[in-house]
Symmetry: D2
Subunit: 365 residues, 4 copies
C-alpha cells in the first residue's frame, strides 16, 4: 500500500525537526522533502542530531515537490507569502506559524501587522481537535495553534463548556469572526500566568537566549500584550489577562489560570467538567491532587509527548479556581498538534505517530 507523501518546509528549525521526527516514525506518512535555505544539501542529521539515521537531505525551498501534505514550519509571515505555492504543491497544507490562526483579518490587524491574504483567515481551519475535531476532516488549509494559547485553551475549555466562566462560549475558528458578544465586555478577570522553555524562541538565538544569560531565569518576557491573548479570547470567548515568563527548561509550556467564578463551584463540579470534556480524548489527561511527586500537571511529565495534562485546585477562601495546564510546546503546542490534526483531516488513526509516552525521570524537558 502506498503511503501518504509529506513535505516539511522550514525543516531545519526546531519545529521543523520535530515534524521530521514524527513523520519519520509515522505509519502513514513518507517524508519526501525537507527544505532549508540555510542547510540545503546537508543531511537532516546536521541540524537535528537525533535524526542522524535518517537518509534525507535538506533541499531548497524554491523547489517544492508534489506531495499529499505539506507542513510549513516557517517563521511568522512566510506562509502567507507562499501559501499559493504550498497549495499548488500539496492537497493539504498544515501551517505551524501564526499566519492563519486567527479567525478574522480585523483581529489579525489588531495584533499583528497587516495580513497579505486576509481572505484565507476565514477559510483556514484551526488545528486543535479537542476544540473543533468535527471541522478537520477534509480541511485543506490547517493552522496549528500557538503553544501558550493551546495550553491555556485546553486548561480552560472545560470551565467554558460547563458555564463556570460567566458569559464565555467556546467558538471554533470560522464562526467567531464578527458575531456574538465581544469577550472583552465581561467583567471576568481570568489571569493566566505562563512559564515557557527556551525552545519557544526557536533555533538561532541572541544574547538574551544564550546559555549564560538564560540559564536559571525567571524572566518576565511578555509581561502584557502577548499575541496569544487574541487567539485564546477568539476561541474561548472570554477575556484573559496574560503574562509569560521564561524559566529554565527547553521544552514545555505551563499555564496557570486563576479563575473567579460568579457562582460557587465544588470540586465535584470541576471533576465533572474535566471528565465531560476529556474522558474520551486520547491526548489530554486530568491530574488534580492525588499522591506521589507529580500531583498536578507538569511539563516534565509530558516532555516529548503529544499529551496535555490539565488539572485544578479549588481556593474557597478566595472564591478562586486555579487551573493548571502543561504541554510540550514543541509537541502538543506545535508539531504534535499539527500531526494530530493531519491525522484527523486525513482519516488516519488519531494517535498514529504520536504514541511516545514520555520519560521518567527526565531533566529539564
Amino acid at each position: 500500500m502506498s503511503r501518504t507523501t509529506a513535505a516539511v518546509v522550514g525543516a531545519s528549525g526546531f519545529t521543523g525537526g520535530e515534524l521530521l521526527r514524527l513523520l519519520a516514525g509515522h505509519p502513514e506518512f513518507e517524508v519526501v522533502q525537507a527544505t532549508s535555505r540555510k542547510y540545503t544539501r546537508k543531511t537532516v542529521g546536521y541540524a537535528h542530531p537525533n535524526l542522524r539515521e535518517l537518509d534525507l537531505r535538506f533541499t531548497d525551498p524554491e523547489d517544492l515537490e508534489s506531495v499529499d501534505v505539506l507542513f510549513a514550519a516557517t517563521p511568522h509571515g512566510v506562509s502567507m507569502q507562499h501559501v499559493d505555492a504550498f497549495r499548488d504543491a500539496a492537497d493539504t497544507v498544515v501551517d505551524l506559524s501564526a499566519d492563519f490562526r486567527l479567525p478574522s483579518a480585523d483581529l489579525y490587524d489588531e495584533w499583528y501587522d497587516g495580513h497579505e491574504r486576509p481572505e484565507l483567515l476565514a477559510e483556514a481551519t484551526y488545528a486543535l481537535p479537542e476544540l473543533n475535531r468535527e471541522e478537520l476532516p477534509g480541511a485543506d488549509l490547517i493552522a496549528a495553534g500557538g503553544c501558550n494559547a493551546t495550553a491555556t485553551v485546553l486548561g480552560l475549555l472545560p470551565l467554558v463548556d460547563a458555564g463556570v466562566i460567566d458569559g464565555a462560549v467556546r467558538s471554533t475558528a470560522k464562526q467567531s469572526s464578527g458575531e456574538g458578544s465581544d469577550p472583552r465586555d465581561g467583567d471576568q478577570r481570568i489571569v493566566v500566568d505562563v512559564k515557557v522553555g527556551s525552545s519557544e524562541g526557536g533555533a538561532g538565538g541572541g544574547e538574551a537566549s544564550s546559555h549564560a544569560e538564560r540559564s536559571g531565569v525567571v524572566r518576565p518576557y511578555a509581561p502584557t500584550g502577548h499575541r496569544h491573548e487574541a487567539e485564546i479570547e477568539a476561541y474561548l470567548g472570554t477575556r484573559v489577562a496574560f503574562t509569560v515568563h521564561a524559566v529554565d527548561m527547553v521544552r514545555g509550556a505551563s499555564a496557570t489560570c486563576h479563575v473567579f467564578p460568579d457562582d460557587p463551584v465544588t470540586k465535584g463540579d470541576l471533576w465533572g467538567a474535566y471528565r465531560e470534556a476529556y474522558e474520551d480524548e486520547p491526548f489530554v489527561r486530568t491530574v488534580a491532587g492525588g499522591g506521589g511527586v507529580y500531583r498536578y500537571p507538569e511539563p516534565k511529565a509530558v516532555a516529548g509527548t503529544n499529551v496535555a495534562e490539565v488539572g485544578f485546585e479549588l481556593d474557597p477562601r478566595n472564591g478562586r479556581v486555579v487551573v493548571f495546564s502543561a504541554i510540550d510546546n514543541m509537541m502538543k503546542g506545535s508539531a504534535g498538534q499539527a500531526v494530530h490534526a493531519a491525522n484527523v483531516a486525513l482519516g488516519f488513526e488519531e494517535t498514529a505517530g504520536l504514541e511516545f509516552a514520555g520519560l521518567h525521570p527526565v531533566g529539564a524537558p
Copy 2:
C-alpha cells in the same frame, strides 16, 4: 573596640549557613557560637563548603552561650518552645522561622497549629525595614518575614501606599491585630503567582526534592492556601490569591502580582509610587522596562545579595497592573533581612555586612 557577639542556632541548615556567612563578614559582629544538633563538634565547613576557612565548630544547642544577639534559624515550631532560653542567653533575639511573624494568635491559629506562646506574637517586631523601620530600633524579639511574603509585600507596598489598591492600608505587625477592616471584605482580587527555588525546602530533602525529580520542573507545589497569604494580608491590608510554583533554580523567589485597580493608573503614576516608596531604600531597586537583557526584576540579578528588585508593567487593555518582584529567598527573604533588621535594631550602618553586589553572569542562582 569590642564587637557585638552573635550566636546562630540551627546553623547547619541553609539559612543558618547564610547567617554565618553574613555575620563572619560583618564589621560589627563576632560569631561566638553556631549550634547544630546533627553536626555537633564538626567544623562549620563540613556543612557549608563556602565557609571552610572559618575557624568555628558546631556546638550542641542545649549549651547556649551568652551573646548580644541570637539568631534562630530553626524549623517552624522550635523557637516558640525555646524562646525563653534564647532571651535568657541574648539581649536581642532574631527569629527566622514563622513562629513570631503573624500579628495575632487568632490569625496564627487559623493558619498554623496552636501557638505555645501566643502572648509574644504582639510583642515581636516584624523584620522588614521597608515596612516598619521605625519600630525596629531597640526591638528585642524580631521576626524575619517569609520569603514569598517578603517578595510580595515589597512588590505591592508602593501600590498600597499610593492608594492604587482600593481599601488597602499598610499595617505594621502589632497594630494590625484585630482592628480595622477585614482585608477579605474588599472585592479586590489580586492574583500573586510565585516561582521559587529549591533552597526554600531547606537542607535534607526527600524524593520530591531530589535532583532527578526536581530538575527542570514547573511544579505547582502550593496551588492554594499557602500560609504566607496570611502574612501578606496582615501587613498589606488587602486580600491576595496566592499560588506558588517550584522552578529550576536553587535560590530565588519571584512574585508576579496581577492587580486590577478600580481607577485607571498611568505609568507615570506607577513610577511615582515606586520612587516615593523606595528611592531612599538601600536594598530595593525599581526595574521596569528599559533595554538590555534584564528589563524586569529577576532572581538571577540579585542572587547572593540583599537586594529586592521590583518593577511593573501596565496592561491598559485589561485594566491591569502587573507587578514583578525578585529576591534571593535566602537573603532578602531570610538571613539578609534578619541581618538588616538587626543592623537597624542595634543602630549599625544599615548596609553593614550586606554589600555584596551579586554576579553576572550566573547560572541558576
Copy 3:
C-alpha cells in the same frame, strides 16, 4: 497471536519504570506484573507520571506470577537472593543489577562483598549484544551491564578489536574467568573520565542528591576504585584507570577515554575500526567531527533512546587517541540494553520496542 508475558520486579524504581515504558510499547511483550513493596496496590502512574495511562497496579514482590520473561530491577544484592524464585516464575530472567555481571566469583569478591550464588556467575550471560550477540539466543539468565561500563566498553571495543590497544583482547563473560593474561599486566594506561547524571543514583536520594546540592555540580563522586572498572577490564581485556564525575543532567553517561597506542594510528585507521565494529549495529552510531553543533557524542543526542554514540579524535602531538562515548544510562546503560538482549535471546526483531529516535532540542536529558 498470543504475546510473550513479562514481569518487572522492582518496578517503582527508575530502571523499573523505564522497563515498564519499553515493554508497554513493545509489540511482542505483554506486561502482566509490576512489583513494588513500597507502592503495592497503587497504579504504576503513581510512581511514573509518564505511565499514567497504563492500566496496571504494583503488586507485592512475594507473589510472583508465572511469566515468560522476568526483568529484575532491584538493588544490588537482591537478585542473588531471589534468583531461584525468579527462575521458577519465568523461563528467562533478565537481571539489571550488578549481581551477575562479572564473569567469576573471584573477581566479584575482589570488588563486592561475597556472592551468595557464585556458581551462577559463570552461567549468566552478559547482555551487551555488540559484545556477545552470539551468546544470547536461548540464554535464560541474562545480566545487563553497568551503565558506565557499557559506555566505556562500547567506546573502546573497536580499538581492542583493531589491535590499537596493545595486548587487549575482547572477552565474553564466561570465557574470561581465570584464563588468559591478566589485563593488569600491561603497561597501557587508559584513562577513562566519566560524567553521569543524577538518575544513576536511583529514586529516593539523600542530601547529596538533593536538587539544591546537586544542581550545577561537577562533583568527583567516584575518584578511584569504581566497581565498573572490574567489568570493563573483564570484557575488554585491558586495564583502565577510571574516574566518575556527577554533572548536571538527569539521564546520561558520557565516557571520555584517553588512549596512548604503542604504534601510531591515523584517522583513517580509526574510522576503519569503528566502521568495522559498528556499521551493522542498529544501536551504535559513530560521530567524529563533521559540522554543526553536535560534532562528537553527546548524551543529549541520545536521551530516551537505546542508541550509543561513539566517536574519537586524534591528538598527534601527544600520541593520544581520545574516544568519546555517550549513552542514556537508563536505556543503553540499563533498561534498553536489557530489552535489546531479551529481543536477541527470544528471537524477536532486535529493535522491537526500542525505536524512539530521541528529541531535539532537549534540556538536561
Copy 4:
C-alpha cells in the same frame, strides 16, 4: 587619602563586568573609566544587572583617560594592537586576554597566529601569584592566565615542586623561553580532563551556546589541541594531554588530572606536597576526602570567589594520582586573578577586594 585610579577596557563583556564588580568594591581602587564600543554612553548596569547601582557609563575605547592601572578585558588579539596606547594611559597594564601569556614568540606562533608585538612576550609578567608572586611587585605589564590553564597549574604545581612528576620543573614566564629541556621529551602522560561553564565563551554567543542547545550538555568542545596546553606546559615544565568538555553551568572550570608517577607515592606524601605549596596561600584550599557532601574540589563551592580548591585521591591499583582542581573561571581564572596580581604588584593587601566567601547552597554556579 587619594585612591588608585583604574580603567577597564572592554567593560561590557563578562570579564569586564567582573572587573568592574571587583574594583567597585575594592578599598584601594576607584574606577574612573569603563569602555565599551557597543554600549558607549549607556550605564554599566545596562550590560551588567548586578551593577545597576553603579553610577558609571561606558565610554568610547578611543578616548582613554590617564589612570594608574588599566585592565584590558578585550578579545584575544586586541591588546597587542593597542598595548602602546594602554601603556601611555596607565602606569600598570593588566591584560586578561591570551596576548601576553606565553613566554616566547616561538611558542606563541606555534599555537596562535603571528604576534604583532613579539618582543613584549618576554617583558610581560604572568599573573598567577601562587606561581610567581616574587616577580609581580612593580610589574607594569601583567598577563592574567587562561582559566583552564590556571585550574590545571594550581592542581599540579604541588606535584611538580615535590618531584612527583618526573622531570617537571616549575618555571616562571620569562625564564622558560628557549632554555632547559623540552617538556615534550618526557614520557609522562598526564591526562587533564576539564569541564567548563558557558561563561568561558563570553557574552554574545551563537547557536551552539544558545540555551536550548547548551543546556544539560556534556559536550567535547576542545577534544585535542586546546591552546591552554601550551601555557600549562610552559609554566609546569611537563607535557599534558588536554581535553575540555562543556557542561551545564555558567561559571566554573574543573580540571581532573590523571598522573602516573614513576615512583610510588603515599597519601601522606600528597598531603605534604599540597600543604607545602599552599598552606600560606590566601586563595587556595586543599579538599581531599573527609566527610559531608563536598568531599573534593567543586566549582559550586567557589562560585563568585577568588578561591581555588585543589585536592587529590590515590589509586594504588593503577599507580595513579587523581588531582582535582576547581575555580570560578571568571574569578580565579580571570578577573579575580588579575585583581590579585594587581594587589601584589602595587603592594596592596593581597586579599583586598577579593574577600567574598561564596554561597551555599547555590545552583549552577
